[in-house]
Every structure is written in C-alpha cells, then in structure tokens.
C-alpha cells in the first residue's frame, strides 16, 4: 500500500482559516492519559501560551489506545497526534503521511525516571538471571513496554520468546497481579511506579533502559503534512507555546503538577503525583534522531516493522522555535 492518499481531505476542516485574516486556526490534538503534562499545562495556564486564542486554538481529545488515536488521525479527526515512538514508526512504514515535529517525553538512560519492571521484595528474584522461566506482566503486545522487556531479556543472553512468559495486564491492576502472584514481574510507569515504590513491597529487577540503551522519545508529536502546509504559522506558534510550557514544566515540576491537580486535569492521588520523579524531557522540544534509529533497528529485529522508514523524511524539527 504505497499509495498514501490519506489523510488528505484536511483542507476541508483544519486548514480553512489559513488564508484568511485573524481567525485563529483550530488545532485538533489527539493525546493519551499519561505523561503529557506540558500539553495539559497549555490548557490550564494560558499565561504560558501567548499565541493561543490568537493564531490558533487548541482542542485536545484523549484516547485510550494508540490504535484509537491512529484511527482518528486517519479519519481526519485530529491534526496532531501525541503518540508513542513505535506506533509512529509503524504508521509511517505503512505509508500514513506524517511529520514528527516535537518530543513529549523521553526514556533516557540514567536521566530522570526510567520505567521499572518490579517484583515483590521477598520473591527471590534478585538479578536478570533469576528472570528465567518467570511471567512478566505488560499492558500490551508490540508496545514499547514489550520492546523494553524483550530487549532486557536479550541483553542478559536469554531468548525472549522461550525463556520467559508474558501476560497482558492493565497497568492499574499490575500491582495487585504481582502481589497475588499471578505474575512474577510487573511493569510500572508513573505514577504507578511511585505508588508501588512508596508501598515498600516492590523492588526493581530491571528497567526500560536495561536493554534499550538509546535516548528514546517515548512519546512525540506528529502532524498531518497537509495541515502543516496550510497552517504553517499556526503550527509554529503552537510549538513555540508548547516549548514555553515544556520549559516551565521542566523548571517548576512540582508547582505545575499541583496546578494540574487543582484544575482537575489529572485525577491521580495528589500526594504521590505532585512529588513524583518524572522522566527526562527534552529542553527545546527536539527529538533525538539517533534514538529513533536505535529504536527502529530494534523494531526491525523483532519484525514488528516490515521495512525501514527513512527517518529524514518524517522527522522535521524546523517548526520548533530556533
């Protein structure tokens, strides 16, 4: 399916205001439910976003799964998607037109929070060697978490298809699944990781970076090229506001999260959430092309990706403020 006609009818909905005068352009952004704090800040703190309401307006829709977001994107219901790196690569290799324009959150080795895979303290699982024959809980197959787990197993010289088993567990019930011994090791993103660590019952066996040593742009944003063409200025303004919010968040994490709780943007347990250690984030909104290449190689190796994507054609950092 090399033909990539979609999404193309964007001119009808997103881009109409481009030529006109002062009418702000509506940017329809599809995101998820976690790790998008800078984007949420843009909604609750207009002081950070001088262009919002002038050259563009922001309309964020939250989706549960990557597939939902991508469906909505293909159905031309969103112009920008905040979505996982793997999903972006898969989509691009399927010929879905997109341009990656900014990083949202990273998994950087040794910097910030790295998503841990944890077992019970008294489980007897102390090192990678003990993982052999155990059951690992992940929320979804072919997801980044799946990739992390498999890469970690490989790095310890085991075969990820033979030496361990996987169980699909929704993240909210991960802790219970480990405690009740339905699985041996579970994956804990924030804020679940913070809660689990606070309880004192769990210990880390390995983490996202054990196998994947690259600087991953765990979540990034891509835009519909058609939309971009018609609304270049609006996207630029949006990204400039976004980077401002990102900066603010990087510098004032605790206050920012407090605000998000206050404004009901986040429903997590306040104490844990406000004080949690966040993952590393880009300072200027840029993604790391090296990281993308590394991840693409892994995906190719796992055969989750049929053919490589020319990263130069999909990554474009030129709309970010220089």
């Amino acid at each position: 399916s090399g033909q990539s006609a979609q999404p193309s009818s964007g001119a009808a909905s997103g881009g109409q205001a481009a030529a006109g005068g002062n009418q702000p352009v509506e940017i329809r952004l599809g995101g998820g439910f976690s790790s998008e704090e800078p984007l949420w800040l843009m909604q609750v703190n207009p002081e950070l976003t001088p262009h919002q309401g002038k050259s563009y307006t922001l309309n964020i829709t939250q989706f549960r799964a990557n597939a939902d977001r991508l469906n909505a994107y293909q159905a031309n219901q969103i112009d920008i998607a905040s979505i996982g790196q793997g999903a972006t690569l898969v989509a691009a290799s399927q010929g879905i037109p997109l341009k990656v324009i900014a990083s949202v959150i990273k998994e950087t080795p040794g910097k910030g929070f790295n998503t841990p895979f944890m077992a019970l303290k008294d489980s007897g699982i102390n090192s990678m060697a003990d993982v052999k024959g155990k059951v690992i809980g992940i929320p979804d197959f072919k997801s980044p978490t799946d990739m992390w787990a498999r890469a970690a197993i490989r790095s310890a010289g085991m075969d990820p298809d033979k030496d361990v088993k996987y169980a699909i567990i929704p993240i909210p019930s991960m802790a219970e699944a480990v405690k009740s011994k339905k699985i041996d090791i579970g994956m804990f993103p924030q804020p679940f990781g913070a809660t689990a660590l606070k309880s004192g019952e769990f210990k880390e066996v390995f983490n996202a970076k054990t196998g994947v040593q690259a600087d991953e742009d765990f979540l990034s944003m891509f835009v519909n090229p058609e939309f971009l063409k018609n609304n270049e200025q609006a996207v630029k303004d949006f990204l400039s506001d976004y980077v401002a919010a990102l900066k603010y968040y990087n510098e004032n994490g605790t206050e920012a999260r407090k605000l998000l709780i206050e404004k009901q943007k986040v429903k997590a347990d306040p104490d844990t959430y406000i004080n949690l250690t966040d993952n590393n984030r880009s300072t200027d909104g840029k993604v790391d092309p090296e990281g993308w290449k590394a991840v693409q190689d892994i995906l190719l190796q796992e055969k989750w990706l049929d053919k490589p994507v020319d990263l130069n054609t999909i990554i474009d950092m030129s709309y970010l403020p220089q």
Binding site: G30, F33, S34, N59, I60, T61, Q62, F63, R64, D68, N71, A72, Q74, A75, N76, Q77, I78, P170, I171, P172, S173, A175, E176, K179, S180, P191, F192, T195, Q264, V266, K267, A268, D269, Y273
Partner: protein, 253 residues
C-alpha cells in the same frame, strides 16, 4: 411503584456495602478495590463541587438520546418486520448478521462520518441496544393472536390502525421485556461510548477512564456507582410506565 421492592433493594445495597467495607477494613481485599467509606467521601466531594452533575448530565444526555432512538426505531422497525412479511424477510438477515458484530470495531468508520462527536457515541449506543428491542418486538408481533387481527380487519380497520391499535398493544408486554434489556445496555454502553475519547472531558464513562488511567479506583467506583444508580432509577421509571400501559395485563408490575 412497589414500596416493598424498594425496601428490599435498599437492604440489599446496604448489606453489600457493609460487607465490602468490612472486607476492606480487614484488608481481605486489595486496596485496589477501595472501600465504600472512601468512595462515599469522594462522592460527597464531587456532589459538593458540582462536578458530578455536569458529568452525569453529559452522560445522561447521550444515553437517553440513544435509548429514545432505540425505542422508536426498534419498535417501529420490529413491528413492521413482524407484521409485513417482505420487510421481515428483508431485515432478518441484516439483524442476524450485524447482531454478533462487536460494534466497537465499526468505530473508525463511524468516526470518519460523524467525527469524535456525540453523534458517534449515540450511534454506538444505538447499535448495541437496538437489537434486544427489535428482536423482542418482532417476536411479540409474531405472538399476537390471529383472531384479534381478524376482528380488527373485519371492522374495516386500516393497516395503520391495525398496527397502532391492535398489534402494538397486543405485543406491548413483550416489547417492554425488550426495552428493559435495551435500557440496561444503554447504560453499559455509556461507558464504552465515552471510552472512544472525549474532547470536553465530561461524562461518567470518561471519568472512569481518567480515574482508571491514574490509578484512582475510588473515583472509578464513584462513577460506576452513579451509573448504576442512574440505571436503577430509569429502570424503575420504565417499570412504572410499563405498569401504566399494561394495566390490563395479568402481570402489570
């Protein structure tokens, strides 16, 4: 409505809550399952802040609109398909084929046409809850005694009059059986339909999702509890309407 039934319902709920609270206090069930006290506190807070009402209103609007659509289309089409053989022959294969389709799979297509909008959500509710109503109505029409129709034809009633004044009331008991199942499904689908993403962030299903994603099971239970309560309320209203309309039937309540 039956006072006795209410009392029993109340007792059942209280017993369940007490049991749950006890288990939670003894820590026999995981924290993940929260406890009535915690949920109650949260519920109260949401009532005070008014959040609950805006969310409930958004959800109710969608589910009731969906149900209304189900009732109207389901009954009209069910009667037509039950009474006019060609219409029945026409619709039976569609219904048989579409009924077992997981409607969620149709979402991408609905989305292209109707966007991420309430229209899509209402349609999703409709597509699921339609079938019980349709099937029960059609079966109800098939069960109407031939001699009633004969008597009406004999008095020169038009087709419309026969449908409206004979078939409808005679099939009504069974139609209500179907409506009750549909109403229940409407509230179940309220959750699934809001799962597809919400832009204004209002709705009980959306609340469940946000809370679940943030590990706040207490909030999740608040939403579930409110959905159940609303479902119960509308079920009772439906039963009251049923008793009203079926006053002539031997089982009117």
């Amino acid at each position: 409505m039956d006072k006795r039934l209410h009392k029993i319902a109340l007792i059942e709920v209280v017993v369940l809550l007490v049991l749950w609270q006890l288990l939670a206090m003894l820590q026999w069930i995981p924290e993940y399952l929260s406890s009535p006290a915690v949920i109650g506190k949260e519920l109260l807070a949401m009532v005070m802040s008014g959040d609950l009402f805006s969310n409930a209103a958004a959800s109710l609007y969608r589910s009731l609109l969906g149900f209304l659509l189900v009732a109207v289309v389901g009954i009209v089409l069910g009667i037509a398909a039950g009474y006019f053989k060609p219409i029945g022959v026409f619709f039976t294969p569609i219904v048989d084929v579409l009924n077992p389709v997981p409607k969620i799979a149709l979402l991408p297509i609905l989305m292209v046409w109707f966007g991420i909008s309430d229209t899509t959500r209402v349609l999703l509710i409709f597509l699921t809850a339609f079938f019980p109503c349709f099937i029960a109505t059609q079966d109800g029409v098939h069960g109407v005694k031939q001699v009633y129709v004969w008597a009406a034809q004999n008095m020169g009633a038009s087709r419309i009059q026969i449908l409206w004044k004979i078939i409808l009331p005679a099939a009504l008991p069974k139609i209500f059986d179907g409506l009750r199942v549909s109403l229940g499904l409407t509230f179940v689908m309220l959750f699934s339909s809001e799962m597809i993403g919400s832009s204004n962030g209002l709705g009980l299903g959306f609340m469940i999702l946000t809370a679940d994603m943030a590990g706040r099971t207490d909030l999740m239970f608040v939403s579930i509890f409110v959905i159940a309560l609303l479902g119960f309320l509308f079920d009772r209203i439906l039963l009251a309407v049923r008793a009203r309309l079926l006053w002539w039937s031997e089982n009117r309540g």
